[in-house]
């Protein structure tokens, strides 16, 4: 019974994130459009795009290798699994112990690894520029987020997301300087990782500025659909990660009743909406920065995270 229940909740989780991701992106786009006093695309537009892309033929570059065709599936699978391991409305996920926070980040890392390879496979200058910038950004973003994780984990005494969520939900935490810093660092990294303004602009195809789009320039049809879907999943993942670490209230405890699950789901929606709104506002209120300003941007995150780890002793002794 319990088993079934867990399996169901896990499966529900996976489906939920899969279904929720495009909606989230659509929502962000919509809000941004409205902030710019435009009508903007309808909320469900991303779904339509995906379906259309899936139906289309794939156009492969002449010297694209088998790896090029395999990579979209790898990326999608990796991101999906990672996203489904992050607690959303309930923290008692069946398989959450199979990968802790570090593993989830590493999983995204492998996805990025293959994406960068995909950029180089066809052998155009675009792909190269994208991949090289991507790895440069990642080389700063990954340590930043890992150290953030250290800070959080040292406070919560665990790298298990569900445990962290419970700890954060409990009253034991109190207000801590290091947590605030960790939050800021995490947000910066999230922006960078999802290629949002000011680091990258998902909506542009201007060679000099694009990173993510340059890598996937050669993709089309179902491959492109998968890659888009996985980036949407990634956005969802980060938002729900922030949500479950820093605003864990309302999430359903393990072995919760259906009611509490419902409550959890509701609060989760609210959280997501809030985050999305914040993101949209932020993106509209700031300009894209030069590529070589990004290191400084991320360096700040790195420093904040490091400070967070060190300051936790101070605030720990408070």
């Amino acid at each position: 019974m319990r088993m079934i229940h867990d399996l169901v909740s896990q499966g529900a989780e996976m489906l939920l994130v899969l279904l929720l991701a495009p909606l989230l992106t659509g929502f962000v786009r919509k809000v941004k459009a409205r902030l710019l006093r435009r009508q903007g695309p309808p909320l469900l537009q991303p779904y339509r795009d995906l379906v259309r892309l899936l139906r289309k033929d794939v156009v492969l570059a002449v010297n694209a290798s088998w790896l090029f065709r395999a990579i979209p599936y790898i990326i999608f699978a990796g991101t999906w699994v990672a996203a489904s391991l992050v607690p959303t409305f309930g923290s008692g996920l069946m398989f959450s112990w199979s990968a802790d926070l570090i593993a989830i980040i590493a999983l995204l890392g492998s996805a990025r690894f293959f994406l960068a390879l995909a950029g180089m496979d066809v052998g155009t200058a675009f792909g190269g520029i994208g991949s090289s910038r991507e790895v440069m950004i990642a080389s700063l973003a990954e340590p930043a987020i890992l150290i953030t994780v250290f800070a959080v984990a040292m406070i919560a005494g665990s790298t298990q997301l569900s445990t962290i969520a419970e700890f954060m939900g409990s009253s034991a935490v109190g207000l801590r300087v290091s947590l605030g810093m960790a939050l800021v660092a995490l947000i910066i990294v999230a922006i960078a990782e999802n290629g949002r303004i000011p680091v990258d602009n998902p909506a542009t195809h201007l060679e000099l500025t694009m990173v993510h789009e340059a890598m996937v320039l050669e993709y089309s049809g179902r491959h492109l659909a998968l890659i888009d879907l996985s980036s949407q999943l990634k956005l969802l993942l980060y938002l729900s990660m922030i949500a479950c670490i820093f605003i864990p209230w309302g999430a359903a405890a393990p072995q919760a009743t259906i009611l509490s699950l419902a409550v959890g789901a509701l609060t989760y929606m609210v959280k997501l909406t809030a985050c999305a709104l914040a993101l949209a506002v932020f993106e509209t209120s700031i300009a894209k920065m030069r590529v070589f300003r990004i290191p400084e941007f991320l360096g700040a995150a790195l420093m904040l995270a490091l400070l967070a780890t060190l300051l936790r002793f101070v605030s720990g002794s408070l």
């Binding site: 492969l60 790898i74 699978a77 990968a99 890392g109 690894f113 496979d121 052998g123 090289s132």
Partner: protein, 667 residues
Amino acid sequence: MIVLALACVAVLLALSPLAIALAAQPRGSGLIYGASFIISLALCTIALIDLLAPARPVFSLVLPIGLPWLGAHFRIDALSAFFLAVVNFGGAAASLFALGYGRHEEEPARVLPFYPAYLAAMNIVVMAHDAFTFLVAWEFMSLASWALVVSHHRDVENIRAGYVYLLMASFGTLALLLAFGVLAGAGGHYDFDSIRATPLTPLLSGAVLLAALLGAGSKAGLVPLHAWLPLAHPAAPSHVSGLMSGVMTKVAVYGFVRIVFDLLGPPEWWWSIVLLAIGGPSATLGVLYALMQRDIKRVLAYSTIENIGIIFVGLGLALAFKAEGMAWVAALAFTAALLHVLNHAAFKSLLFFGAGSLLNATGERDMEKLGGLIHRMPQTAAAMLIGCVAISALPPFNGFVSEWLTFQAILLSPQLPSWGLKLIIPAVGGLLALAAALAAACFVKLYGISFLGRARSAAASEAKEVDAFSQVTLFALAAFCLVAGTLPGLFIDALAPVAKTMVGNSMPQQAGLQWLTIVPIAESRSSYNGLLLFAFVLLSGSIAALAIHRLASDRFRRAPAWDCGFPDPDPVIQYTASSFSQPIRRVFGSTIFAAREIGEMPPPGSNVPARFVVDMHDPIWEALYAPIGKAIGFATERINVLQFLTIRRYLTLVFVALIVLLVVLAL
């Protein structure tokens, strides 16, 4: 047991004179490598039996050779058994690979005789149980590998590499000699048992630690003693490079562990600071150096420095926790380090063999002359891909597991009493994270430039897939990387006796846990299940593929790549190795390597080609090695006049000497 092992080693030693005779024959290399493959396998099994046998007895033996009144002591305890396994795992792989690769050797007489001797030497080092035998084997190992490094002696660079290598190796040996000199004390008891029996004052043991760090570190390639490594490892034939990077550096780690964890007695807490302060920067600097290279084998050599850094960080953590009496965490860190030893041996060998295959197929080590090889050599490309993912510490492969365990140990640092460690360890953790991210970048570059894209040279466009032996080796190693990544629990349990003997405790038994998860401390704290993760990814990936191909379209057509309206671009417009690392060079290199980009754009209309030069400096070489060289040169030049004096002046020397001595008497 040990008799058997020594017998195998003896056979290996006997092989090398045989090889001198066989080198001329066409079948010679096959015979030698085949034999060494079989023997290595045998030794590996012996070691595994020793390691895994429940309640294993400790085998030891004394032969009447070496120092007359000492004899040669040999012993296979848990530590030796583990490293014996690693050595022969690498040895077997290298021999198997060489069965194919060795056939392309143009001067086999310069490789074959030294290869078995080299293997034998490494085996003896890990089995030796007295200082003299240990040092003899240690230095003999360097000697044999030196001979292999200079085997392609027509290239002056290789000779120079060999020279630097042998010099540094002897330096290390002499450092170890001093270490043992202190350990043995005035009595001159060189066998390890009596060394353990004699305690040392804190000052002396500190000296031993430093000497051991110099000795073993110079062999392992810790920054700043690494200078020889990126020169020597690429110079050797690729299967030997694999051995040197994958195995010999581990033998050096063994030497360090043996001295510091076993012979030296209880550690002081500040020792760990020394290790962390060297290990962390080694990791980051090593991979940064690697990112700046174009030569594929040199990239791999530098990345070895990075991984050695990670291992020493693990050892440093183990020392810290051991010193503070938290044996269970020490066990975690120590196990992580040893696991990384094994993993690195696996994927570094794999990568070096892959590089060797490229070298055979194209004759090129410069990545900017390769490209598009995934089409020409699909098998090699597939195996190499796994190697690259594994060494980038990405799940579900083995590199990630050891790094994950190290991180878990780091996360326990707040429980340490000393504030220095509390503050340093997270910073070191940051360095490791940085190193991991950079490693990923580095291997995206390595793989993307040399295997993906379009061929940048004729050699690359006509490359042929390599022979069966090489492919088998590559895939075997790749499979190992996956297994070790998905079933780490087995390996952790196998390491339990080693940790038990070295740090006095071992990680909790992993075998019983559900779904073969690994749990370093407690499940509530952290757990990782590579198998399940792998299964999930595989499952969801294939489900997605199946669903899409079923429900949506599965058709595709070929078309030229998007070219911005400039059709048929030349392959040279692709990103090259150096342009790929340009952003990272801008971020890190400008400070560390004083990297400057000099671009000269001719005025419009003039047909002078535009020039773009990047000039970089090796800070460590210029700060440490160059001055020493200068000093020696200066001293020798100064003192050399003594060769050219007149007889009268020489007489004056004698006269003065006489007077001085007489004055000494008179006073």
